[in-house]
């Protein structure tokens, strides 16, 4: 059974030539149209014609230079954004850890923020209450559990988000650069968790610049360049293709 089935998705962002945020801006803009100037924006295609399939238990690495569409693709899979064309089907439940962790409200404590994140990730409220202490401990934040979230460093916030996500029953994990922020000790703990997930046939989609990490955990990789799939297949080949491109400076990363 496919855990993710992405079919021919396209996504564009609007880049307005003049930024209009307020009602007044729009009125001014409408008036300038009357003067013959056009309301204009550029369509920037962040993703073009992306298709792939991932079977349950398989993991996928997404690689490519900055701005190639990796995070956008992950957000589409997480349903945070919608594609303009094409379809994405996912089976089962997902847990997402995007860049910069959680931080729902700086004024609430670490434990209170953890509760919000955990419940959104699909854990029951009663379960979260029971597990909060062990989650905070895994994140190495026991000392800070009653501190306000804003007093944590960004690395600590990602650690917290990560520690909650791995408590869920999700069969698909979407992880964006999250590991890069944690310290070496935490990374080791996470890698151990990943190994356990692989044994349990749970899938991981990883956006990363760490080729060894991708080769170690993902059977398949997708190499994105300027929003297009430049290569898809076995991680060994795809990562080599990327590194070759970088060396021959076809890609300036």
């Amino acid at each position: 059974m496919a855990v993710v089935d992405v079919q021919d998705i396209w996504k564009y962002f609007r880049i307005p030539h003049e930024r209009r945020l307020t009602v007044l801006d729009h009125i001014a803009g409408a008036l300038s149209v009357l003067e013959g100037r056009r309301y204009s924006y550029e369509e920037f295609w962040a993703l073009k014609e992306i298709s792939f399939r991932l079977e349950q238990g398989e993991s996928l690495g997404i690689i490519g230079p900055n701005g190639s569409g990796k995070s956008t693709l992950l957000k589409l899979m997480a349903r945070i954004m919608r594609p303009d064309k094409g379809t994405i089907e996912t089976n089962g439940s997902m847990a997402t850890v995007l860049e910069l962790g959680i931080g729902f409200h700086g004024d609430l404590t670490v434990k209170e923020n953890a509760l919000v994140y955990g419940v959104i990730m699909g854990l029951r409220r009663s379960e979260m209450r029971k597990r909060t202490d062990s989650i905070v401990e895994f994140a190495g934040l026991t000392r800070f559990r009653d501190a306000k979230l804003r007093s944590l460093s960004s690395g600590m916030q990602v650690r917290l988000a990560f520690s909650i996500a791995i408590q869920t029953e999700a069969n698909l994990f979407l992880i964006d650069e999250a590991l890069a922020v944690g310290d070496a000790e935490f990374q080791q703990k996470c890698l151990e968790k990943f190994r356990q997930f692989k044994k349990e046939k749970r899938s991981i989609v990883l956006v990363s610049h760490d080729m060894d990490l991708i080769k170690g955990f993902c059977e398949k990789s997708l190499y994105l360049l300027n929003g297009e799939a430049r290569a898809f297949g076995a991680s060994e080949e795809v990562t080599n293709r990327y590194l070759d491109d970088v060396r021959s400076s076809a890609v300036t990363a």
Binding site: T22, M94, T96, F104, D107, V116, V119, M121
Partner: protein, 255 residues
């Protein structure tokens, strides 16, 4: 399907709880502020209209307080509901949940706050000579109706505010006007006959009239009140869900 419903209920519960906590944290008096605000307005309006202008409304203080509490729920509820999406960027950009739940949670926190205000001020109403009867038990129903009305309006406002960031300024002005177009401190019957048919269609007016009927006239809200309230809830909820559903698709990019 029930597990999905449970999941959504849990989300709404923790988000509403979060909103409620944030509102009263970092302030010395906390909940007391939300009592002092309508009380101060009541004292001022009573001094001006009852003592200086000698408006002839029996038990003016209690009468005006009921109007103020209902109005306050509407204005604060829609005001906070409107910024609930913009103010919760990480709930939009970092995780997925049906975003209507964010607005719903904000409104629920306000419903809870408003209900507590009423409960805390019931003794004052009694002191002011209001005869508290079993009709007061209809109050939860009135507040529930107002909550649904606020939810409908907040859905429209919050999605418009995502696209036009100064829309909250527009709404502030609408609310200022609304304060005078709603019979909070004057008798609605004073409005000239030919404007009455439009004037009386204001659902907040009907909610205020219903509340006054329950507490001051010890009776049931009129069928006209019920009809206007239920119809506006349905229309505004429908409009809100449509507008929100349409604009929600690009929230994560616009925030």
């Amino acid at each position: 399907m029930t597990s999905k419903a449970n999941h959504y209920l849990d989300i709404v519960a923790v988000l509403a709880q979060k909103d409620f906590k944030v509102r009263y944290r970092n302030s010395v008096l906390g909940f007391v502020w939300s009592l002092l605000n309508p009380l101060a307005s009541m004292v001022i309006l009573t001094l001006v209209f009852s003592f200086l202008l000698r408006v002839d409304i029996p038990n003016f203080a209690a009468w005006v307080l009921l109007g103020l509490l209902i109005w306050r729920f509407f204005s604060v509820g829609t005001g906070q509901g409107m910024v609930s999406i913009v103010g919760n960027a990480s709930l939009v950009t970092k995780v997925y949940l049906p975003r209507q739940l964010i607005v719903l949670s904000s409104n629920l926190a306000n419903l809870l706050g408003s209900a507590l205000e009423f409960v805390a001020l019931l003794p004052l109403l009694a002191i002011l000579g209001v005869n508290l009867t079993a009709y007061a038990l209809y109050l939860p129903l009135v507040l529930l109706c107002e909550f649904l009305l606020i939810f409908g309006v907040s859905l429209t406002l919050s999605s418009l505010n995502m696209r036009y960031r100064d829309f909250n300024q527009v709404w502030d002005i609408v609310l200022q006007l609304g304060f005078f177009l709603t019979p909070i401190f004057y008798d609605g019957n004073l409005v000239p006959e030919r404007y009455q048919s439009i004037y009386s269609l204001n659902p907040v007016t009907r909610l205020i009239e219903s509340t006054r009927t329950i507490f001051l006239r010890n009776g049931l809200p009129s069928l006209y009140d019920d009809a206007v309230i239920v119809t506006s809830i349905m229309l505004l909820l429908l409009l809100g869900l449509l507008v929100f559903g349409r604009l929600e698709r690009r929230f994560a990019e616009e925030i």
